[in-house]
């Protein structure tokens, strides 16, 4: 066991899969000698060679198209899109191509591709470097969209993602990269790709969140606990599919729920969670479903970023409103 950051836990997981499966390949912009602009792939080219870990020309559609052709010839690609905002250049490769190929080939050809990409706000990046674009991708049949909220899950989930035989969009939170450490077991372990996790048990209200907002939600749970209010916090981990069973079980117990996301509110993950609850568990509720999300503007530039991002105060305010209903 070693205490590792979120980013080093991902590096460790990539090391495991590269070591285990000689057909795995890591490629993208700057991932080779430079080890990625965040150093997520640091040391991997030295260890596994330029045939397995390599730089590509600067073109996102090219990178993901390359992945599809590599998968077609027996490889297991782990491409990196340097920032999630750059996936706009490669939307066809994801939604038009890799996610549909299993169907196109009657289930007989697989696209075992893990697209890694950093996202998420709060680090004052340049424009288009922090966007939460999961809303665009969760409605893509044939694509899994996952995001770990802590270093332990990050390692276990990257290993599961690479081992999965369907395309996985693996979103890595920029703010969490170096702000958290966990005890990380050495070697291989996996964390399932399609189950949510109850990260804190409680009985009075359920807070459903993912990625960096899980930590914000835990802060709120701590604060409410001082007043003997018991909040349950669920980390979705998988944004598509969504593990509704875990949510329904919790709501059955607490009868109150707040759904939190960092992304803008329109038609996203939180909307899906809220509508699933409304459709299947509304009779268990004693109050309306609370929602916390960013406003429906474009992602802000650095100076207003912290005012724009939903934080623990916003979650607490919404939780108190729902509790008082």
């Amino acid at each position: 066991m070693a205490k590792l950051t979120y980013i080093k836990a991902i590096t460790d997981g990539l090391d495991v899969v590269l070591g285990e499966d000689p057909k795995t390949l890591i490629f993208g912009e700057d991932v080779g000698k430079n080890g990625g602009v965040f150093r997520t792939t640091e040391g991997l080219q030295d260890k596994y060679g330029e045939d397995r870990v390599f730089d590509t020309p600067l073109a996102e559609s090219g990178i993901l198209g390359l992945s599809i052709g590599l998968a077609a010839t027996g490889w297991r690609p782990i491409p990196e899109i340097q920032f999630m905002g750059f996936t706009f250049e490669a939307v066809d490769s994801i939604g038009g191509q890799m996610a549909r190929n299993r169907f196109r080939f009657s289930g007989k050809r697989a696209m075992p591709i893990t697209v890694r990409t950093p996202f998420g706000g709060g680090t004052h990046t340049a424009e288009m470097h922090a966007d939460n674009l999961e809303n665009y991708f969760v409605g893509t049949p044939g694509l899994r969209v996952v995001t770990p909220a802590n270093p332990y899950d990050a390692k276990g989930m990257i290993i599961s993602a690479v081992e999965n035989n369907d395309p996985v969009l693996f979103m890595e939170n920029l703010k969490l990269y170096r702000s958290m450490k966990d005890e990380i077991p050495e070697g291989k372990y996996t964390v399932p790709l399609d189950t949510a996790k109850v990260v804190r048990e409680g009985t009075d209200i359920t807070i459903v969140a993912y990625s960096a907002e899980v930590n914000e939600s835990l802060k709120v749970a701590d604060k409410l606990a001082e007043e003997n209010i018991s909040a349950e916090v669920i980390d979705l981990r998988s944004l598509s599919p969504i593990d509704t069973d875990t949510i329904f079980k919790s709501v059955e117990k607490t009868h109150k729920v707040v759904v939190v996301q960092e992304a803008q509110k329109m038609a996203g993950v939180g909307a899906q969670v809220a509508s699933e609850i409304a459709e299947h568990a509304i009779m268990n509720l004693d109050a309306p479903i609370g929602r916390v999300a960013a406003p429906d503007s474009v992602y802000p530039w650095a100076q207003v970023e912290n005012d724009w991002l939903p934080n623990a105060d916003d979650i607490e305010e919404k939780a108190r409103e729902i509790l008082a209903y």
Binding site: A59, G65, L66, G69, L70, D92, F103, R104, F105, S106
Partner: protein
């Protein structure tokens, strides 16, 4: 300080000459069936010449029969191949079984020559994904998103290289319109950067639906689009099946030998509409535009060459057409006897392991579809 007068960089002459290396269209037999390269022509045996003609007659008959089926309402989307027989059959004849093929929607004849059945082609048109189940064949589905096949072909070329596969290349087709896509350039450039064995075919048939070739780019040739990526290219008479074959075969050999990708532009013409779904070429081109190209019909020149050599007769061709038609009708029956796909089939092939939501949908549609 003296003021600079005039130009030191002669952009005008750079522009005027930059296409020159690509404008020497490679040809063996011209439109009047005159052999312009006797030495190369003599490298073909009589059997080979007859075989090329048979393939082109096969493709034209397939087109005509497909249009008949289409008019009878027995097919869905179909992109007519009429006029492009030399470009398609000449190039596919240079393929080996181990080569990977990434076709676009007008390339069903090559897909079939590379191992798919005619019935599969019809199933694709009818909207049954079973048509795209190619088993172990190195075939990919007919790409609809123009350009996507180019980046994917670059990936397969890199995969072939990494697999250490000898004498194997990744082939991909697009048209003149396709060369305007960003993915076109990304695919060519990626394959070049990795020096991967890809052959990029551009079938320049003059039209992207209604938009003429000259509106796609001011470049005088499409072949020269390779040069910026360090990819050698050639422009070929796409109505000359022998020239297309030799150019493709040599491109293949060059790429397979580890020299990096090659780009081949074939100058051909879409005799028919863009698709069977209501496109009317008379809205955007005239009979006068079409005439020189119909005069250049690839079958006319080969028919004359073979007839002069005593290797071909109209009677023989008619008999062949009848045989092909009979077999295409049998293929259509096969396609029509293939069970239609169900929503459940679709749901089951969305993921390897259906998600809980998809499992619920499967149960719902199983109940619905069993009624």
């Amino acid at each position: 300080m003296a003021k600079k007068t005039g130009h030191v960089i002669d952009f005008a002459s750079i522009k005027a000459t930059m296409s020159d290396p690509y404008k020497k269209t490679f040809q063996i037999v011209d439109k009047d069936a005159k052999i312009v390269n006797q030495e190369l022509f003599d490298t073909f045996s009589d059997d080979q010449l007859v075989d090329f003609m048979k393939k082109m007659v096969w493709e034209r008959t397939l087109h005509e029969q497909t249009m008949n089926f289409s008019r009878q309402g027995r097919l869905g989307f179909y992109a007519p191949t009429f006029g492009e027989e030399a470009s398609e059959m000449g190039s596919i004849s240079a393929f080996k079984d181990q080569d990977f093929l990434f076709p676009a929607y007008r390339d069903l004849p090559q897909l079939i020559q590379h191992g798919a059945s005619v019935a599969q082609g019809f199933l694709w048109s009818k909207g049954n994904a079973v048509g795209d189940d190619y088993g172990d064949q190195r075939n990919w589905f007919p790409q609809i998103i123009i350009g996507a096949q180019y980046v994917e072909a670059a990936g397969a070329a890199l995969g072939i290289k990494k697999n250490g596969e000898k004498d194997t290349v990744s082939f991909v087709y697009t048209g003149d319109g396709g060369t305007s896509q960003g993915d076109f350039y990304e695919g060519v450039n990626f394959a070049s950067s990795f020096q991967a064995p890809a052959v990029f075919m551009v079938q320049n048939n003059g039209w992207a639906i209604s938009v003429p070739r000259y509106k796609q780019t001011a470049a005088e040739t499409l072949a020269q689009k390779g040069v910026a990526s360090g990819v050698p290219a050639i422009q070929v008479d796409g109505m000359d099946v022998l020239a297309v074959y030799i150019a493709t075969q040599e491109a293949r050999e060059f790429a397979a030998a580890g020299n990096g990708p090659v780009l081949v532009e074939t100058l051909t013409y879409r005799f028919g509409a863009h698709s069977s779904a209501g496109d009317d070429p008379s809205r955007y081109r005239t009979k006068e535009d079409e005439k020189p190209w119909f005069d250049a019909d690839p079958l006319i020149r080969m028919r004359k060459i073979l007839t002069d050599k005593g290797l071909w007769s109209q009677e023989q061709e008619d008999k062949l057409v009848d045989e092909y038609k009979t077999s295409f009708k049998a293929s259509m029956k096969e396609a029509e006897n293939t069970p239609t796909q169900s929503v459940v089939d679709m749901l089951k092939t969305t993921f390897e392991e259906p998600t809980p939501q998809i499992k619920a949908d499967i149960a719902r549609f199983e109940a619905k579809e069993s009624k």
